[in-house]
């Protein structure tokens, strides 16, 4: 039972354009959401997060949007840069459930010149 879903295994975007990565979840107990970025042969690194009491969080080129009614969040990267090419994982947490993170399957982003 996949509680966090990333339905697009890959995404290709031109440099300078916007990248939009999507994530859906099914567990209404999730109250905190995170995006991690992973380069080959490295561990995931934290990128940005959002609490369920907010609908938007912005950090430089990265913005995460949360639509609780739709159980959907998205990560916007603008402008996209070649160094953004990586696998992006969406993760969700039920804070009352021991801080366990549930990850999606990831989306491979490729930013082309």
């Amino acid at each position: 039972d996949q509680q966090v879903k990333q339905n697009s295994p890959s995404l290709s975007v031109q440099e300078g354009r916007i990248s939009i990565l999507n994530c859906d979840y099914t567990n209404s107990m999730f109250d905190y959401f995170l995006w991690y970025k992973k380069y080959p042969a490295e561990g995931p690194t934290f990128l940005i997060s959002i609490s369920s009491i907010k609908d938007k969080n912005e950090d430089g080129r990265f913005t995460v949007f949360l639509n609780k009614s739709a159980k959907h969040l998205s990560l916007h990267i603008v402008p996209s840069q070649p160094g953004d090419s990586a696998v992006y994982f969406c993760a969700a947490r039920n804070t009352g459930g021991g801080n366990k993170l549930t990850f999606g399957t990831g989306t491979q982003l490729k930013v082309e010149l």
């Binding site: 690194t45 993170l101 399957t105």
Partner: protein, 114 residues
């Protein structure tokens, strides 16, 4: 600041052999996690430690997997005996105290069971 250190980075063994992975978390991080990541999947939690106590090991296959964090710092994850299906990346992560602090991941150990 040094990150999470894991060793070895790669390990190839034959099935039925034992294998162990080592993790040194970021200094001062009292929470330590072991994750399993299969190809094309996201990390899945195996076990979580708060200091030396395993507070969530519900996803750890206890018939063949074991873990320890004796002094609340370094941790070891062991598989005995390994099976073909154990081939995966084993990730260690650590987190400072505080509910909203993020987890920092190590580079992982890629295990191949032949």
């Amino acid at each position: 600041e040094a990150g999470v250190v894991q060793s070895p980075r790669y390990k190839i063994i034959e099935k039925k052999q034992p294998v162990a992975f080592w993790c040194n978390p970021i200094s001062g991080h009292n929470t330590l996690y072991w994750y399993l990541q299969n190809l094309g999947q996201g990390p899945e939690l195996l076990i979580r430690y708060e200091n030396e106590e395993a507070v969530d090991d519900s996803q750890l296959p206890k018939d063949r997997f074991s873990a320890e964090r004796l002094k609340g710092v370094d941790s070891t994850l062991k598989i005995q005996p390994a099976e073909l299906g154990d081939s995966a990346v084993y990730l260690c992560a650590s987190k400072a105290a505080g509910v909203d602090n993020e987890q920092f991941f190590g580079p992982g150990t890629r295990l191949t069971v032949l």
